[in-house]
């Protein structure tokens, strides 16, 4: 594949996207840092209260490094991250009595694990289900089945996610109490127990994301059905299923993968409302709490994770788009 010493176009694109991703992430971190710095009030006042003396505040600020100019603090933080050090949380520092402060990593890691667990389980259910529904509605388009599936999907996507969550709690935890309404998992729990605990949040999220993916699959497939090569496939005697699976789907992956990536990213970064409803200890809640208390190191770490999630998932979608397109994979 290496022609005339050139890098294969797929690899070149991946490298280019990675570089762009890194740049995007830097921009995001600057924006987050700047916006938190510009927020009125600061961490010391929030923790020590209005009654604190000037000396305590100055001492506390010094301990946190807040006496330094913003640009220096940003630079030091960036340097730390480059070496794998995300810093120490502002909470529970010595100036507030005794030193109970924790490393940002220790705070974020278990929460991220929980989030990825919930996102992973949801994805395992939602993605195949969405693809199946999208393909079958395209295959039997304008049938009663198609209309019902579309109507239900549109209904669930049109409702706020907390509302869906409460309906599920009402039905499955209150009226017919078969599932727990609280999803307060911890690391000691066995897997089956954890799965039962997250059943309701996973269901709510599935309902939220399935419509997008299903409708994009359906639209992408239907778009291609009118093309001459699809007619040709039929005239070569292929069954409806064979036409869709062999001749349509391979050409439809690019848009479908993009929407799936977008929804998976949402599962990691955008589910704080569902976490709150089910009291689920995910990373969304952690970030919201950290923003409230101006805990800059934690906010920055979360923002970094969110940015990386988006960038990586979109990169994967791009790569899928390239490898399913022979024009790009096998240039003339």
């Amino acid at each position: 594949m290496l022609k005339r010493g050139n890098v294969h176009p797929v690899l070149a694109t991946v490298l280019k996207r990675l570089g762009l991703g890194l740049f995007t992430w830097l921009m995001v971190s600057v924006i987050i840092f700047a916006s938190i710095t510009m927020l009125p009030g600061d961490f010391t006042e929030a923790v020590l209260g209005q009654a604190a003396t000037k000396e305590t505040i100055v001492a506390f600020r010094k301990e946190l490094g807040l006496d330094q100019p913003a640009i220096v603090r940003y630079g030091e933080w960036l340097l730390g991250v480059a070496q794998g050090d995300f810093g120490t949380s502002f909470s529970g520092r010595a100036a507030s009595g005794q030193d109970r402060s924790r490393l940002v990593m220790d705070l974020v890691a278990p929460r991220l694990q929980n989030t990825l667990f919930l996102a992973g389980i949801t994805a395992i259910i939602a993605v195949p289900l969405a693809l199946f529904l999208g393909l079958t509605t395209a295959l039997y388009r304008n049938s009663l089945y198609d209309r019902i599936v579309n109507a239900v999907a549109l209904t669930t996507i049109s409702m706020p996610e907390f509302f869906l969550a409460y309906i599920l709690i009402l039905l499955l935890a209150s009226l017919w109490p078969i599932l727990p309404s609280l999803a307060n998992v911890n690391t000691e729990m066995a897997l089956p127990e954890r799965l039962i605990r997250i059943a309701l949040p996973a269901m709510s999220l599935t309902l939220v994301i399935i419509a997008h993916m299903m409708r994009m699959t359906r639209a992408a497939v239907i778009n291609l059905l009118a093309l001459p090569y699809v007619e040709m496939a039929r005239l070569k005697g292929a069954t409806r299923t064979a036409v869709i699976m062999k001749h349509v789907l391979p050409n439809a992956w690019a848009p479908i993968a993009t929407v799936i990536a977008f929804n998976l990213a949402y599962l990691v970064v955008g589910v704080v409302v569902v976490e709150v409803v089910f009291v689920y200890p995910g990373i969304g809640q952690l970030m919201v709490d950290a923003v409230t208390s101006r805990d800059i190191p934690v906010v920055q770490a979360c923002a970094l994770i969110f940015a990386v999630t988006y960038i990586l998932l979109n990169l994967i979608a791009d790569i899928i788009g390239i490898i399913t397109n022979p024009r790009l994979l096998h240039p003339r």
């Binding site: 090569y229 005239l235 070569k236 005697g237 050409n251 022979p326 096998h330």
Partner: protein, 546 residues
């Protein structure tokens, strides 16, 4: 090939397909309209029937109906389609599927669109054969390579491993023929298989298709709007118009003595002739121009002289640089070397640096009238825009002029309020001509303006262009790959090949011997009405090659 015993037992001259009183309806603007109005068609084993007519005559619909297939939005509402004892009009699709791709196969008009971009060519070639278990995958591959070879495809052993975008249009069309041939069907439907090809490529594809159909003794329905092509391929010709049969006869009889006026009129473009005129007054001069798309050079040292008030035809196959030359003249593609002079004054290379007057003097008409017009604008807006932009006409004056222009293109004023979607193909092209005329240009560049039109509509457009030239002394630079058109309207001819000008001269000089080698090849590739033309040509070429 291992199986298909049916065709071994069937005798030549057995009736293979019998369509009786076939009626097909299509759904448009909210109701069902008849498309095919009761046509009978019979085909014997090993026989080739040509279906001919202008677009909208229902040729493709009838061809697909011979497979028992109706496109979405169409339905077979009456009649019988008996193929080898089974009535396809009554059979459910699941049963017809067993015939499709194995006993009846289909060759589509645009091979580039009919191949799935996601799969290798050989996979698509053997798909139906392997699925129907006519042969194993290994045998089918071997057979496919043999077919590729007999269709004279280059690198027959490996070409199948490529993807559709990696081979040329003419090669794709031959691979599609191989695909249709792979299961050794009893019947092949060829749906305008060479319409999208250059004349030089067309000859090779025609020869390959005819050879393989004859050697396998396959019956075929050959659909085309080109009489000369069908004359080479078919034993019998059926002429269709408005979904009805006009007449049917054996090929030699049909060519020499057509009975119906309509059939005679299909010949008419070839009868169009224009006396050649001489003029010394130079309007446009392209002087040693080189041009490139990015890094890829496409024009090399192109020099063309366009005399005032005459028609200069630029001919050559696709990729010869004809349209690129037009882009250089209009300033769309600034040349990297050389000069374009209009009335002796050098034109700035780039479009942006040309004055409104310079822009007004050169107008263009495009091949696809469809895409050259804003679908949301009425005819009046389309024609009125250049009137306002170049000539500053407004209000009632503009309206009056639009109506005058409509009369010039032989349409009445009722057309002013129509949208492009409410016009026929020929009418659309007329509106584009009116739009070019509105600027009162001295030079109009016509880029394949009749290529996507039927013979009869083509003739009308060409006559109109000639009339306008007569009346207003407009100069045309006429880009085309159709030699019949060139014979009809050109005063001078420029032959281009691979980005270079091979020769320029008066029509009589270029179209008569002695020819440079490429011109000879191009001219001899133009199909003639004589049914023995292809045989003669192939014989001549193999003699020359030997």
């Amino acid at each position: 090939m291992t199986t298909n015993s049916t065709s071994d037992t069937r005798q030549k001259n057995d009736l293979l397909l019998e369509m009786r009183d076939v009626r097909i309806e299509g759904f448009s603007s909210g109701r069902w309209h008849p498309i095919i109005k009761g046509i009978d068609l019979t085909l014997k084993s090993g026989e080739v029937l040509g279906l001919i007519g202008e677009s909208g005559a229902g040729k493709s619909t009838l061809g697909l109906a011979a497979m028992g297939f109706a496109r979405p939005g169409c339905k077979i509402v009456g009649g019988s389609i008996v193929f080898d004892g089974q009535d396809l009009a009554q059979l459910p699709e699941s049963a017809k599927r067993h015939l499709w791709g194995t006993r009846i196969t289909y060759v589509a008009q645009s091979a580039a669109a009919a191949f799935n971009p996601a799969h290798r060519l050989i996979e698509q070639t053997i798909e139906a054969t392997v699925r129907a278990q006519i042969s194993t995958s290994t045998e089918a591959r071997k057979d496919a390579v043999a077919l590729y070879r007999s269709l004279q495809l280059p690198e027959a052993d490996t070409i199948g491993n490529r993807y559709p975008h990696q081979v040329s249009g003419g090669q794709l069309q031959r691979i599609m023929t191989a695909m249709a041939m792979a299961p050794r069907p009893d019947l092949i439907i060829f749906d305008e298989p060479t319409t999208a090809l250059d004349v030089t490529t067309q000859v090779e594809v025609l020869a390959a298709m005819r050879e393989i159909v004859a050697s396998c003794d396959t019956a075929a329905i050959y659909i085309t709007h080109d009489l000369a092509v069908v004359a080479q391929m078919a034993n019998r010709i059926k002429v269709l118009r408005y979904g009805e049969e006009v007449e049917e006869a054996d090929t030699p009889i049909m060519l020499s003595a057509p009975k119906q006026d309509y059939t005679k009129s299909l010949w008419s473009v070839r009868a169009l002739q224009k006396p050649e005129r001489d003029s010394m007054d130079v309007l446009l001069e392209i002087d040693h121009v080189d041009a490139a798309y990015g890094e890829t050079p496409v024009l090399f040292d192109v020099s063309i002289v366009v005399p005032r008030g005459k028609t200069v035809a630029v001919v050559g196959e696709s990729g010869a640089g004809k349209s690129t030359t037009a882009r250089v003249i209009t300033g769309w593609l600034p040349q990297s070397r050389g000069e374009v002079r209009f009335k002796g004054v050098s034109l700035p290379n780039a479009l942006k640096s040309r004055s409104v007057q310079q822009l007004r003097q050169i107008q263009m008409i495009y091949q696809m009238a469809d895409t050259a017009m804003n679908p949301r604008q009425t005819v009046e807006e389309i024609i009125g825009r250049p009137l306002e932009f170049y000539l500053g006409l407004k209000g009632a004056a503009r309206e009056r002029r639009v109506i005058e222009l409509l009369h010039m293109i032989e349409l009445n004023e009722n057309f002013a309020d129509r949208l492009p979607s409410e016009l026929s193909g020929g009418q659309k092209q007329r509106v584009c001509i009116a739009r070019a005329l509105a600027a009162e240009p001295e030079l109009i560049i016509c880029d394949e303006v009749t290529s996507s039109l039927d013979q009869i509509v083509q003739e009308g457009i060409l006559r109109l262009l000639m009339c306008l030239q007569e009346e207003f002394g407009i100069t045309y630079l006429f880009i085309t790959h159709d030699i019949a058109t060139v014979r009809a309207i050109a005063d001078e001819i420029v032959v281009m090949f691979q980005g270079r000008v091979i020769e320029q001269g008066t029509k009589s000089a270029v179209l008569n011997p002695p020819y440079p080698e490429y011109t000879q090849r191009l001219l001899s590739s133009v199909p003639e009405m004589d049914p023995s033309w292809l045989d003669r040509l192939l014989a001549e070429r193999s003699r020359d090659a030997a």
